[in-house]
Symmetry: D2
Subunit: 275 residues, 4 copies
């Protein structure tokens, strides 16, 4: 029971307020646009932009976001996100549950490099602007600092691909958008300067998919956390595809090893309990 002079029912509806979607009987507006005007006209990627950013995308925004998302859909069942979804699909939860388990592990380590790279590029560009220095100089300094503390630079190098096949094609798309003036190109320059500075070391890690999609997102003004959100949406496609493939296999309770293989036991030998 609550104090009658206290909060009102309006406080409870305000607590859940949103600027994304308005509903009324027979009406649904997304960011103000009646949904029936959007269906069949606005693309799915356009709807992603509209809902998350609040306005309709420009052609460059649509094109670059679409390309970055296609680049991120899957990397195979070795990834724990995919393996988790495939196992879940055999355990008697709906496909929603399998997707949830895949998405949930796209955490700071497994799904966060893109977000971290957007942060890195934004920090370089902001410092350069603030100090009135070229981004290349700030980028080189950043690399030197990371090297000095042996820290990992998110978005560069790949433990499997010596050269990530998604880099060049996305890079070309960003460059074209810079040439046409659709995006400013500062974050691209920052990323290329980081890559160049890294290339002067022994490992020479080129930009990976997290790095080049971070360039796309940073050029589009997408906030770092939202960039992770876009990656999650994109990888959800691979997660769904794998869950669905596994679901069709008819396997039940799939573990990591095919029976009759067992995990090694490395613990205490059998001993008696003297309870």
């Amino acid at each position: 029971m609550t104090d009658v002079t206290g909060p009102t029912v309006e406080d409870t509806t305000a607590w859940w307020s949103t600027s994304i979607t308005r509903i009324a009987p027979g009406e649904i507006d997304l960011r103000g646009y009646p949904i029936e005007q959007l269906i069949g006209k606005l693309g799915f990627v356009g709807a992603i932009w509209l809902l998350t950013k609040g306005s309709l995308p420009t052609p460059a925004q649509s094109r670059l976001l679409e390309a970055a998302m296609v680049a991120s859909v899957d990397h195979g069942p070795q990834a724990p996100s995919i393996a988790s979804a495939r196992m879940a699909a055999t355990c008697g939860v709906g496909i929603n549950g399998a997707i949830a388990n895949g998405v949930n592990v796209l955490g700071d380590t497994h799904g966060g490099a893109g977000q971290q790279c957007v942060e890195l590029l934004c920090a370089i560009v902001d410092t350069a602007r603030h100090d009135g220095r070229p981004v290349t100089e700030v980028a080189a300094e950043t690399v030197a600092e990371h090297r000095a503390r042996k820290a990992y630079l998110p978005g560069f190098g790949h433990r499997f691909h010596p050269r990530d096949p998604r880099r060049d094609v996305l890079l070309t798309l960003v460059r074209e958008a810079v040439d046409t003036g659709e995006v400013a190109g500062e974050h691209l320059r920052a990323a290329l300067a980081v890559e160049a500075a890294l290339a002067r070391g022994s490992r020479k890690p080129p930009m990976n998919v997290d790095g080049i999609t971070a360039v796309v997102y940073a050029e589009l003004g997408v906030e770092p956390e939202l960039a992770r959100g876009y990656f999650v949406l994109a990888r959800s496609v691979g997660i769904l595809a794998h869950a669905w493939e596994e679901s069709n296999s008819g396997r039940r309770i799939k573990g990591p090893l095919p029976p009759p293989l067992l995990a090694d036991y490395t613990g205490e030998p059998t001993r008696d309990f003297e309870g």
Copy 2:
């Protein structure tokens, strides 16, 4: 330790086999297509189709899938999926965790009506084909049976919208595809026959978004469970948008009621524990 005459390492890599994505150093193929050929050329919805169905979509498949997914992106924070994601976004988990919690509750009751309606429409069409009878007749019979046992027909009627604003526009798109011969139209006829039979009752529930997207998916030959998967991908957009909006609010540990409101307590009065 495992028996040396037992399973081999090849059994373990076969256990995780997939036909979706092939990777090799510097190479990623999606369903056989090198990813660098797809980025910037294939749309995101095309990639969804390619990964889940195994082949490139026809223009009709792309167009209808895109429309159905845009129709499904959001319905506001009243939905438990959205509310769950918004609350999660204030609890110190990454945005991946917030999306996972939203997706996870798209279960049989909250996210399953579309899948169930695809099953219903397929059953009607299959029975009609098998028995050599018109789908309208089988549909009317199905409605009568459901009515007799007071069962709910998934995809028809909405507890909020007297008429779902997503129905007509999607219906028009499917009809156009039937007119051009891009889809066969049997499942559309089944759904319209169900709707017509229901309209002869007192409640007259029209097709809702689950029903009309089920028509799209059934006409495209999408299996019922995969149809739920597509719905999950689509609604993930709204889930992300709401999680991101809440994340920007700066709230911490958001519960269902604004403080200082408390849930009513309806249990035992205070009593002593005689342990």
Copy 3:
């Protein structure tokens, strides 16, 4: 904005009403008992019973629930629930996220056999009571019916253990409680009758851990779905232990196969995209 003549703020606090816990500034009652009276006096298993069943457990309820839960804590990393949690622990989500992923896959197939066996035993006992027939007769009939449609009987047989080591010890505990009159024994008799009927076939599957814990729960009057809940709590212990062990390994992004092993690719050979 909502209609002023419509719902009140009291409707919103009633919407979230509970009979489990009452809080007031400086006060927390669990099912009516001040929490400071319970801490250090009531055992953890007692608290589980109190919160879920609403009253303090009898000694038999505590003892049997505790034994059933200890029996269910773990079965090693081959299980997808455990493997999922271990992989999650390497992906940069908190240990809560790792536990959530493990718990989430305890679905109908991986974690539901106990619940289904409680339903089975209750159905046998209810039918026997209703028809005034011995449970052994109804149990034998049930087995015959299942055999006739080649259906699986939840709670009997194990794909790894010819004889489940958890069966005998729990069975003894239930028998002792029957002997002292603490539980009625009808569900135990039903389970033994099912086991005996199965033993007259070729496979002779004895009661497994799901079966014998189902006997415990059914004898205690625990509803089938709540029985699954208890199993989830128990297995959460193993899930936590494995997540924590993996977390201590320092591995990052653990997939199902040790690098450089890759899942087999069984899909289309590389082909050109003619976009």
Copy 4:
């Protein structure tokens, strides 16, 4: 296909190795103890300790862990973890899915204060030991530092309880264990010194449940992340109880507001899409 001179099947079983549980046909050992020796003899809390810490608990370890866990089982449906589980229980996912959603939001902000407080207390004690200074002095210094940067001290103060009813009773239990020499008491002294230093300010936040359970865990030598794990296990009880209560309500698709209430819409007014 993998290189025949590469990894062996033994590498894959080693990849999943564990020291927690050994299984063989008919045998299950937990940390070396045959499970049939533990069932009915070892308590559930003892099993939690055994699995996570690797050895049987001493009486003090059992007693204190049990008390800390009972203290943490629930705080009502205002918490997002509980509200999430209750909503999930109405969406057609199993009770495992409802528990997973509740557990998943016990993140750094909602479930991490205990872990952070263990870290704080350990840091104070370690510094004091290292510098050969009294913990009270180091604690006072720590408080001063936090105050200077207006930082929050995890484990002290509660936004609802002026005085947390769980504090005194747990404090008494820890003191008794110090008196008997069962625990050393250094972390207790650190926590009391923090509380005393805070009491010299204007807000005077006393130790809350996160603080006093952190004292328990730190005194028991439980690592900070594992302390969060224990909290997750304990709160899972409340999560289950609430999910089960909601499940029994028969509600379907429960959102945060009772219908017909709607969240406020604060976005763009309706506008036309000029696609």
